[in-house]
């Protein structure tokens, strides 16, 4: 058995194996394509949740506007796909063929300049990372350099989410408005709609998800990860240890934005459309709830949180559509009051000790969240 690898401690390694087994083997073997595609949709939120673990769980920066970055990533991807779907042959019934249908409906006769570069897939992929990253850099610099933090920051991110939604809805001719960008068809000529494409996209997404998990875990284990924890507790002490606290907050916020954007782009590919209903205040808060339910200090916990809450959302809102929002609210309150470390906290408190007893040769360690942090310290 491989244990005590430096990158994951034993419980994390088990979490890694369990998640990999479920996502790579069990779900694809047991679910039909429709359900598997739903899981793919849930997993797009797992990207956001991983970012929130770094930014909120570790760095203590609560962002209630992750939908903004999810949306920016999603729209970048959707713009590329929409352009490809709007070839001259496909749109010859329009008064201006070759532009997206919603532009034609809004009497726009030429492709706007900012749409032009999205003909290139390379540019699109760069934009998915860079646009939300730069936007987070600007917001982060403006806020954190001025020492805006805590609740104020959370409220401002909410405002940004609201503003972006209004902008997208209002600029119908450029963005598709409230309906968003629909009828996305092919990626470089490869049809993304049939079942076998959905399965391939699912696996692409899971691979990307594990890449993001790896990056987040790497950051957590560096000194930067420990500085984030330190900053959350004693910002001044970090500052008076010679660090520019603002720069570290900006970094965490940008990383969270980029992760969210990757999730958004995968959403556009897997679900086949993008709309402002994934950008605004409510979806942004839901993303925080997924993270809180899964456990904001645990990367794997956050992934499970995103999957399970969305699964509950789908099944409950199929049967009791009116009750779902109340259920979600109650769930959030329960998490905050009763189990602040979420599902991963419950796991660590009740399940992990039993597993540890099975591996009696290994002594269980004191803290669950910081096991890996302690691992690197020299043995006495």
């Amino acid at each position: 058995m491989i244990i005590n690898s430096r990158f994951f401690n034993r419980s994390e390694l088990m979490g890694f194996i369990a998640l990999a087994a479920v996502l790579f083997v069990i779900l694809p073997l047991t679910l039909d394509v429709f359900r598997l595609n739903l899981v793919a949709k849930y997993l797009t939120y797992a990207f956001v949740a991983i970012g929130l673990v770094l930014c909120w769980g570790y760095g203590g920066i609560l962002s209630l506007g992750q939908g903004v970055f999810f949306g920016l990533g999603g729209y970048c991807m959707a713009m590329f796909l929409k352009l490809e779907a709007s070839s001259v042959e496909n749109t010859k019934i329009q008064s201006t063929p070759g532009i997206p249908d919603f532009m034609d409906w809004n009497q726009i006769t030429a492709l706007p300049f900012f749409w032009q570069p999205f003909h290139s897939l390379t540019f699109t992929i760069l934009a998915i990372i860079m646009v939300p990253g730069l936007f987070a850099l600007i917001i982060g610099t403006a806020m954190f350099k001025r020492r805006v933090g805590g609740t104020y920051f959370a409220i401002i991110t909410q405002a940004v989410a609201a503003i972006l939604t209004i902008l997208i809805v209002g600029q119908q001719g450029y963005t598709g408005g409230i309906n968003g960008m629909t009828d996305l068809r092919t990626l470089k000529g490869w049809d993304i709609r049939p079942d076998h494409a959905k399965i391939i996209l699912y696996f692409v997404e899971v691979v990307l998800l594990f890449a993001c998990i790896g990056i987040a875990q790497f950051i957590r284990l560096t000194k930067l990860g420990r500085i984030l924890v330190a900053m959350r507790e004693q910002e001044d002490r970090v500052r008076f240890s010679g660090y520019s606290v603002a720069n570290f907050k900006i970094f965490a916020f940008c990383m969270a934005a980029v992760f969210a954007a990757i999730g958004g782009a995968m959403f556009a590919l897997n679900v086949g459309f993008m709309s402002p209903s994934f950008v605004g205040i409510v979806p942004s808060i839901e993303m925080v709830i997924y993270t809180a339910v899964g456990g904001r200090m645990s990367i794997f916990g956050a992934v499970w949180g995103a999957i399970l809450v969305n699964f509950a959302k789908t099944s409950l809102s199929e049967s009791f559509p009116q009750l779902w929002l109340f259920g979600l609210g109650a769930l959030f309150i329960a998490v905050v009051l009763a189990f602040p470390n979420g599902l991963s906290g419950l796991w660590a408190d009740y399940v992990q000790p039993r597993i540890d007893r099975l591996f009696a040769s290994h002594k269980p360690k004191a803290g669950w969240t910081d096991n890996s942090v302690a691992d690197g310290a020299p043995a006495e």
Binding site: R226, A230, E233, Q234, F240, F248, A374, A377
Partner: protein, 251 residues
Amino acid sequence: MLIGHQPKDFLLAVSGLTVSFDGFKAVNDLSFYVEENEIRVIIGPNGAGKTTVLDLICGKTRATSGSIQFRGKELTKMRENEIVQTGVGRKFQTPSVFEDLTVFENLEISFPRGRTVFGSLTFQRDQLVKDRVEEVAEMIFLKDKLNTYADELSHGQKQWLEIGMLLIQDPDLLMLDEPVAGMSVSERAKTAELLNRIIKNRSVLVIEHDMKFVEDIAHKVTVLHQGQILSEGTMEKVKNDPKVIEVYLGH
């Protein structure tokens, strides 16, 4: 007045320092000078502006007017982390350590390397870091607690840990705000011993109420009252100053 002195002899030259909070002058036209390797203790009644002076020097509070020169560099225009990098270390009144991190990690964060975002991403815990952390941990009596989380430490141990975090920065000017407050008698004695060891080759600015402790360590004492200097000099001189006895020591 100290006009006759050559400013370049001083490690820290505070002149005409004033800070006003909504019209209330917490520090009012304050001037004092700290030499290399000097241990200066600031005493004074509550609300005299002692902590504010340290806040001004380390950049936590911005001065309304006046200047703070450290080795000829103007500190009032610098950001906190730049001031730290120039060589000024500050310990807060209440122990501020990172409770969710171990003693080792607390000290490691203060180690003066990899202080930028990318520096901290590529920071390696090499032998130099380990040796230095262990060396400092031994000085602050926490060598056997390196893997203990800081929230499990006693109040006195947290104070020592914070002193250790400053020590590992190796500042030229060390500022300590009530380092023995809230400590037991035995911890107090150990802290005095610790301070006596760490003040070598650096200047120290201490705020303290414990007069016995002040007498033990001070080279020079500055008495603050209502944001201004009431008296300054050796402990002997200050103790016998009638003004000081009236507003402070007489109580």
